[in-house]
């Protein structure tokens, strides 16, 4: 686990350093080029998935929920059973599911940041970021997602998102995953920007079908600080991975 963490940190470091003058994607390419393995593959047998994790919109069919969605777990709750925060604006019968709609870039891009726009908020506090997902109403105020070089809540530099596959299992880091709502930012990455996994924060896990490119990514991230301190966001991304040009 610690060796894995070290590799992640090193790759994150490369990503962080190179990201200043060059896009993160270039740094991932550099990692691949330096590696004896084929492009995108690491010596550990993992293959970096560089491209866009296109998200399938969330949908509800009665109690069943599919596609991409978000839930917020109350403090002292559990990922499996909640209790969950109820978002009255949810279009599901069960208001604890907030469904996602793909943004202008279709979903999460690895090897790149998808930063907040300027300004990041409307006058009334609605989030305006729309690359990854379209802003969705959460208790009457829009929230959205972005990945930024500097996490806007903690002010810490964070690596751009990275996802690997090994034997059909996904792993990686999304330290930069940041929710914006009501003129506030909430880091929702895993691990957190300091590399920790506080509370119910769980590492990225998921599956990837190399032939269909269908993927499922999940993680949870406890909110540290602010009005939702102690709540935990659970992220469920599903869709199709589209490799970047020149990537496997």
């Amino acid at each position: 686990m610690s060796a894995r963490r070290t590799v992640l940190s090193r790759l994150g470091f490369v990503c962080r350093v190179v990201a200043v003058p060059v896009a993160c994607a270039a740094s991932l390419g550099l990692v691949g080029a330096l590696s004896p393995s084929p492009a995108g593959a690491s010596s550990s047998g993992r293959t970096a998935l560089v491209g866009t994790f296109k998200i399938t919109p969330g949908a509800c069919f009665g109690a069943a929920v599919s596609g991409t969605y978000f839930r917020m777990i109350d403090p002292k709750g559990s990922v499996a059973t909640g209790p969950f925060f109820s978002n009255p604006d949810s279009t599901c019968p069960n208001h604890t599911f907030t469904l996602a709609v793909p943004g202008t870039q279709g979903g999460l891009v690895t090897g790149h940041y998808q930063p907040n726009p300027t300004p990041a908020f409307s006058a009334t506090g609605g989030a305006l970021a729309s690359d990854i997902v379209q802003p969705q109403s959460f208790t009457a105020i829009d929230f959205s997602i972005a990945t930024n070089k500097k996490d806007p809540q903690t002010g810490q530099s964070v690596p751009c998102p990275q996802i690997w596959v090994k034997n059909g299992k996904l792993s990686g880091q999304v330290e930069a995953w940041s929710a914006a709502w009501n003129k506030l930012y909430f880091n929702q990455g895993s691990p957190k920007p300091n590399g920790s996994h506080p509370g119910l924060t769980l590492p990225i896990s998921g599956t990837y079908n190399a032939s269909t490119h269908a993927y499922l990514l999940t993680w949870s991230s406890q909110v540290v600080g602010g009005p939702f301190n102690g709540f935990t966001g659970y992220w469920h991304l599903a869709g199709t991975f589209v490799p970047a040009k020149g990537s496997k």
Binding site: P88, T124, P227
Partner: protein, 347 residues
Amino acid sequence: MSLREEQRSAASPARRWTLVAVALLGLALVVAPFTFGMFTKGPEGATMMSAFRPFMHAPTLDGYQADLRQIDAGVQQTDGSVNAFLSGGAPDTAAFDAFFPDFASFDHQWPAIDAKMTNLMSQVQGNLGNYQAIAALPSFNLFAWFFVIPGALLALLALGALAFPAWRRGARGALVVVGVGLVVAPIAFQMFSRAPDGTRMMTTFRTMETTQNVEQIQSYFGTMAEGQGAIRLDVVPALERRGLSAAQVATQFPAVATLDANWVHILNDMTPMIGAMSDNVANYQAMRSLPPMTLFPWFFVIPGALVAGLALAAGSGRRRESEAASVPFDAVLEPITVPPLSVREGV
């Protein structure tokens, strides 16, 4: 002072004692902030004061009370005239609750939420003056240094005077000045009136700035959001399905319409305050673990008065010793040659 006088003074146990006492007092002042952890707790207190600053204004606090009144008015109107309108006569609470379960859930919890939140805001409002009194003091970031700097100065002056007798006259004057400064500083900063205000605020916040209380308020927030959502997304559309336009809803049910219209504003107001409360639980606890604020002026006045007194006592002791010892001592070492007086001079 001649070299011999200085040598005599250096040999005086009484004078040495006073300087040693001053040096110890100085060192105690230097050590105190480390003992109390002021170098970490002071900045935490400063962070808390700074975090609360945006909210601690009478209009802002009045605004929170107005927000709560708006929510309450909206809930009351929904329970009353909206229920009656949708029930086609007298309010039918059972049917209404069955039809709008999310609102009903909120409605049952609202009286307790309203009482708690209104009381909380009243307590904060009641402590506005106390907060402002503390905010008018120098920053808590500097707090530890108010002990360390004069303490180090006192210790250095006293130890210097012990080591170098030639400095004693100047050192004694400086010690008196520092001692008086320590006595005067709390008076100049109005610490005797402001520190008790601070104690009162800290006492009030004791039940507010706890993880348990913050989590309860967070849970209230979720309940209120769900309840308002039920009014906005279930109840008002039901009114519209009965043929009312948005304008008619606003006219017939103004409290409901006002709550809907102002909800985002209410969230804009309340969310950062909950965030500040949550983020400062640890900072408050750190402040709370310091000695009571009412004692702080005395932490300056008592050592200051002691130092000034000891420095003055050392001076008077020196004079007495000098007066008592000068004739025989000087008579032995330096016989005075008295010129013969003439008759004229004697006259």
